[in-house]
Symmetry: C2
Subunit: 259 residues, 2 copies
């Protein structure tokens, strides 16, 4: 997608409940942060319906386009959980009853008063030749097939599973990202920002206006893979905005002034 | 996409800041609710990067696939706001300085101590033959070109602009959506749910497990365009789960019991 040396990624959220507005997605934002911290470049995220052909098409398209794909949702015990069937079809492999997944689920349900019935056994059905992703909370595993990482939709479970998955993901150069808080509207400093971006190789400069009662300004986010050039660009923004006559300060992630 | 008589829609969120995890998207969930309340079927949402060719390709693909497309983000005064150029290119039209948009912006900035400089004038540049969408908060309009509705990324402004846009959108049959709260795991009632779905034409039955300290259960969401069949299906879920031996109650949207 770019000339960046970092692995690229896409997220697929599978869920009618997100598209209906009933449930608000929390996985895209959380995974975006995690991938960024790992030096993986998230290029795209899609929310799609619980429809088999839609899932197949989306998985095929995005697994070809990017180095890594993460899906969330639709791997539970009920009839509307069709992700596994669709992902297997996308890779042209059958779904098998996975002995290790089954063993973990039997163990898990033996410790509850819940029956390990046919519906729950379905959670041991995994595409052939997929590698399991551990689920420390509710046993039912996710899995990796090709470059696709299949995770559940419930945020707490997805997050716990992703922690275990991290060491298996390729690393990249973590993007340096510096915020310059400016006490002026973005329209006043647009030329400064585009000039800084043009004169600093590989640096991108984003601007995000904000408004609070009695106060407004612009958060300028300077980012790039080269820490030195990115820092120089952030300082150039700071100097340029001050020369224009507004306050400008490089701040920490929590918004406090840097030393 | 389906045999539903309702208009279909897609959302495109344009924003590197969402993909980096710096900003959490709030527009997909909000628009999803609004479209549902209007009887418009949201089929897909995509978050994409601030890259011109990516925006062009995505706008072209989704405007062909669905009746309505809504974009958010990238129509401000700075160099990273490239949505308008890309949308115009997607429709093969030039960008023009729109006289009415310019008039509104001049009026708006005359009431501030901000200069209506070249960067801010850029917000009056609109694809040729697009219709303006009023912006009651900060004047800079959105616009409609073909079936694509271009809105800003800032949630408060997007929301205020969408309110004014509503009467111009086609209506559809509002989906009837009934929640049955069940005091048991979804794995116990999977067969009941798939049977109810199979025996009620046009009804879909989703199940969403939840867990609180000391308590767990499943929210079963029964939805369909025919209110009568959907209500019958929800009652069948309630009866089926009770026959299984668990509590089940049709609840209001806020989770309280229905009369």
């Amino acid at each position: 997608m770019t000339s960046s040396p970092n692995p690229t990624a896409a997220i697929i959220v599978i869920g009618d409940e997100i598209l209906s507005g009933r449930t608000k997605d929390k996985n895209i934002g959380w995974l975006a942060e995690q991938l960024g911290a790992q030096g993986i470049q998230l290029c795209e995220a899609r929310v799609i319906a619980d429809k088999k052909q839609v899932i197949i098409d989306t998985v095929q398209t995005l697994s070809k386009a990017y180095d890594l794909v993460f899906t969330s949702g639709g791997i539970g015990p009920t009839h509307d959980d069709i992700t596994t069937d669709a992902v297997a079809a996308a890779f042209g492999v059958p779904v098998i009853r996975h002995p290790e997944a089954e063993r973990r689920l039997i163990l898990h349900y033996a410790n509850t008063d819940l029956e390990f019935n046919a519906a729950r056994q379905k959670m041991a059905d995994i595409p052939d030749n997929a590698a399991l992703i551990d689920n420390p909370l509710s046993a039912a595993p996710g899995y990796i097939i090709g470059n696709v990482h299949v995770l559940p939709g419930v945020p707490t479970i997805l997050q716990a599973m992703f922690e275990g998955l991290k060491p298996r993901l390729p690393g990249g150069i973590v993007m340096t990202r510096i915020t310059v808080q400016c006490s002026t509207g973005e329209g006043n400093i647009a030329t400064i920002l585009s000039d800084v971006e043009a004169s600093h190789d590989g640096v991108s400069v984003g601007s995000y206006p904000w408004m609070k009662p009695g106060n407004f300004g612009t958060a300028v986010v300077v980012s790039g893979l080269d820490a030195e050039i990115t820092t120089a660009a952030a300082k150039a923004v700071e100097a340029g905005v001050r020369a224009f006559g507004a306050a400008a300060n490089i701040v920490n992630a929590d918004g406090t002034l840097q030393d």
